[in-house]
């Protein structure tokens, strides 16, 4: 057993961090806040760098790496607050043409959510709907009104879950004001199936949860750095605020949360066990959300402004926490696991 990152894994992580710092630095991030359309050139560049094709076998033009590597890359994306349906494109790179190269952008949406939400509706070429297979007994607690898109599909495909693809222009949608300025959302009101997509849906959900958790981890680590950086610089009472224990203890707790989440996320990437993925998502959601809140507190009034990035981390963390298994669902699943 050696749980540390390998040389190659560290190089991948560092390389990704450099690429994102160069192509999606602070200025680009703030520009994206003002104009949240996805940058197609950047998307293609990421595709060219193997960002999406990471796990495709080499003979299929991929990089031939595994889930742990995908986790490291998405951790970096989370750290940089890189917007876009990154998880969807990572998971569908082998299933939908053009996605691996960054030529086409696809999003995933979960049918049993209420409302059914679609990320980046203005930038996607296609939407993939997944239904069933979540929660305790297969299908989740219903797609809302019952005649929504989830309802129709659940009858046909039952508990094991299925997926279908829809061209973006064939989806009926209602406007929805997204809490996260970097992630525009639309509410799907009717989704006509263009074609079923052969996917292992339980596996897709598991991996989507894990990769989402990886982004949460990256965000949680980043907000510790932001808090510590601010605590070293900002002075009150004639000394840096980081001298005060109240601030130190907030920062220490943030680090502990991030490290606990890291252990859980990395282990789940290695074992791919459903229970570990569920635990990892739960702990990473907590780390991202609570670290962002504490980071805001450490920043004082400045933290409450639009100009400081803390709110962007918090809003994205809230958004991700709602996707691929909420805290309530995770806790219930893990409770059931204790009796198994």
């Amino acid at each position: 057993m050696d749980f540390r990152l390998t040389e190659e894994q560290r190089a991948l992580r560092d390389g990704t961090r450099e690429l994102l710092a160069k192509r999606f630095g602070r200025e680009r991030l703030r520009a994206a806040v003002d104009a949240p359309g996805l940058d197609r050139a950047l998307w293609r560049e990421l595709g060219g760098a193997g960002f999406f094709a990471l796990r495709l076998p080499e003979r299929a033009g991929g990089v031939g790496l595994g889930l742990p590597e995908a986790v490291l890359v998405l951790e970096e994306a989370g750290r940089a607050l890189l917007p876009g349906p990154l998880v969807a494109c990572q998971l569908l790179a082998g299933a939908v043409d053009g996605v691996a190269a960054g030529e086409r952008i696809v999003a995933l949406c979960e049918a049993e959510r209420d409302p059914v939400l679609w990320e980046h509706p203005g930038d996607c070429d296609e939407l993939i709907l997944v239904e069933g297979g979540a929660g305790r007994g297969g299908a989740g607690p219903g797609g809302g009104s019952g005649d929504g898109p989830g309802g129709a599909l659940r009858g046909a495909q039952g508990r094991t879950g299925g997926a279908c693809r829809s061209a973006a222009d064939r989806i009926a949608r209602a406007p929805f004001t997204s809490l996260d300025p970097l992630t525009p959302l639309a509410r799907v009101t009717d989704l006509r199936r263009t074609a079923p997509l052969a996917l292992d849906v339980p596996r897709l959900r598991r991996e989507a949860a894990l990769l989402t958790a990886a982004q949460q981890l990256g965000s949680a680590v980043r907000t510790v750095e932001m808090a510590v950086g601010h605590a070293r610089e900002r002075e009150q009472f004639g000394v840096p605020i980081g001298t005060f224990q109240a601030i130190k203890h907030l920062c220490a707790q943030m680090l502990v949360r991030a490290e606990i989440a890291r252990s859980a996320v990395y282990a789940a990437a290695v074992t791919e066990r459903a229970d570990e993925v569920t635990a990892a998502k739960l702990l990473a959601d907590e780390a991202a959300v609570r670290n962002a809140r504490d980071c805001l507190q450490v920043h004082g009034g400045m933290g409450f402004t639009w100009d400081v990035d803390v709110h962007l981390h918090l809003k994205r963390a809230w958004l991700r926490a709602e996707r691929w298994g909420s805290a309530r669902e995770a806790e219930e699943l893990l409770a059931d696991g204790l009796l198994a």
Binding site: R4, V270, E331, L334, A335, L338
Partner: protein
Amino acid sequence: MDLTYSPEEEDFRARLRTWLGEVLPGLPPKPAARDWPGRRAYDTAWQRMLFDAGYAGLHWPRDAGGQGATPTQHLIFLEETERAGAPYVGANFVGLLHAGPTLAAEGSPGQRARWLPPILRGDDVWCQGFSEPDAGSDLAALRTRAVRDGDSYVVSGAKIWTSHAEVADWCELLVRTDPDVPRHRGISWLAMPMDAPGVTVRPLRTLAGSTEFAEVFLDEVRIPVGNRVGAENDGWRVTMVTLSFERGTAFVGEVVACRRVLGALARAARANGRWDDDVLRRTLGRLNAEFAALWRLTQWNVSEAQHGGGVPGTGGSVFKLRYSHARQELYDAAAEVLGAGALDADHEWVADRLSSLSYTIAAGTSQIQKNIVAERVLGLPKGR
């Protein structure tokens, strides 16, 4: 990142499992929680069995009498013994988990030859005389004086919260050997025989009703200079080595135990109907994630230690902070499951709930651990 164990490691696990399966059924019944002499006898007898089977001081270096096992093998040892319900280190805690490793790392060859084998055989029990009535979190404020007189130090002062003092043979004792220099620089680390004239042990009753720790009064106790480990006045550095062992590896086996208890809680809750309580059920589910992650964090720390020279790093503080709180939450949840049964002091979970209260205090309080993480890991400025 590799979480699989190598064939040698699996082989080691299998042998250990077989051995545990053979010897555990023949063990005498556990002594009562409050019977310290009984517990000493029980714990040291178990240590002797480990010694005879070649499992004593598994992760200690070979030249210290250990087996030279890797941290990973040690992890497997802790996991398997706990899973099999083998006795806990108990009275041997200080000797095996921090005094011994400190002696192995810092002692002279003669000191190692003298003190390490009896720890491994279960002949000698050690205790830790660091804390004093006026020096707890602020350990460097300790005042117990040691004045050189020929070949001896003459030691006077008082120690407190000394676990197992009642039944210990030796004490790792911190004393002030130079009162005139900055406080961290005038401390020395001594091995003191507990039966030396002038040593008085007064057991203190804990909130759990046991006499697990004691006050130790030192009245002109003569300790040979040869019992000093490390140079005179260099005791603070030696102490940091001791503390890193104490925080780094000492709680590892307990995580496995907590996972076992969590499963038992869930089954008990289902049997008595409390499983229908959403809040309780979700708490148990959350704790499942918590202990799973703590176990993975342990593997992470062990992997780091295995490649970082053997002395555990600050990962120990991160672990201890989270674990101590998780353990308290676990036994609070147990009380929820037990209902009015949580008022039965003889119930194992209730006794453990009481003892869990010490986890955020002993071995450095949570507040002190947070200071350590903030200052030494995150690099925030020193302050008050």
